[in-house]
Amino acid sequence: MTVKTLPRQDLAERLRGPGIPLRCGALLMRLGTSLPELVDPIALLYADYPLGDDNDVPDFDARVEPVPRWRSPLHPSASTVVDGRAVFDSFRRSQALPMFEWVMNWCVFTRPNQYLLLHSAVVETGGLGLVLSGDPGAGKSTLAAALVSRGWRLFSDEVGMIRPGSRQLLALPRPIGLKNDSIDLIRSDWPLATIGPSTPGTRKGIVAHVRPPADSVARADQPATPRWIVFPRFEAGATPEVRRVSRAEALLRLGEQAFNYSMLGDAGFRTLCDVVDGCDCYQIRFGSLSDALACVRSFAEVEPALSAANVLS
């Protein structure tokens, strides 16, 4: 049973009540909200997610709830609640959707420390994983979305998950967060993409989310072998450039960007070494999406045999 099989009224009631348990790769997340305006975006972005068992123990329970009017008399506000406790400051209610995505990200970034958690976008083709790592604004989500539209499977646009000792990337497909110009860029590059409502006025500007292809969600339990590590850098007007990066340098850069590399101690070091070991590592610089794809084409097939599932979703 997936979210889209729930009648809208049921979904709204369950979100308002105990929340809905969603299976996302290895994690079980329980989502809830009593904000009616979030029901449709959730139904849209999470349509293909399988529902878990209501009684099962979720990895986290994330909600967005309105702040009582007397606490915030100037404008309608909402706040994020994790496992029954308020976390973070309240925010304008108009920001509820990106804040909901953000609080789920926060849980995913801080909770499952039984895994090494890289701050990366990950896509897969033919069982091989491509890890995109870079500062916000480097273009990793945009490039990941473009690759997904060309037949790659989405693992995650924010976190690369590896069980220590396994050498395997695990999928955690969630909506791809796009901001500002990237939203229209992906709309024209991937006309069939399902994109949620745009929210202006966030800290990052305008934000919108792309629904992950049904195939990526359905196959979230299939891991991948890390094969490429790519450090993208978007620079307006740059001539495209592909540079090999040594494995030692890649390890340090991935470690610096990771959420819990230092927390895991020697297990983190060994796990990251194992990831880097089988990978070719590149830094790519580009000024446009087509240049970025050309850079990737120099070491990997950008358009793997298109599967029907990806085209249709």
Binding site: S246, A248, L252, D266
Partner: protein, 105 residues
């Protein structure tokens, strides 16, 4: 105090190593820091895990071992020693009585 030229690893230090194409990464378990070292740096740190050494001797041995110009190596070693001392991986030997017990895995 006065800096002694004889250096040793901070007692109890545990290192984990990995090498790719003559480049080394080493994880220092105690501090939780990961370092990237070239061949000279790796040889020097390996030598120090075997026991205390003076930087001049270190430079001479490593220049020999890697067949590099002694002067270049000596300068690299001095910089490395200063850096390792700054981050607490090594300390001047001889001002504390307990013997260094470095481990390496």
């Amino acid at each position: 105090m006065g800096s002694s030229p004889n250096w040793r690893l901070t007692p109890g230090s545990i290192f984990h190593w990995r090498e790719w194409d003559h480049e080394f990464v080493v994880y220092h378990e105690n501090s939780g820091d990961t370092h990237r070292l070239n061949a000279i740096g790796a040889a020097a740190l390996r030598r120090l895990t075997a026991g205390p050494a003076q930087s001049e001797d270190l430079a001479r041995e490593i220049a020999d071992e890697l067949s590099r110009p002694p002067l270049d190596v000596a300068q690299a070693i001095d910089e490395l020693i200063a850096r390792l001392h700054d981050i607490g991986l090594i300390e001047p030997a001889g001002d504390s009585q307990d013997p260094a017990s470095p481990g390496s895995r």
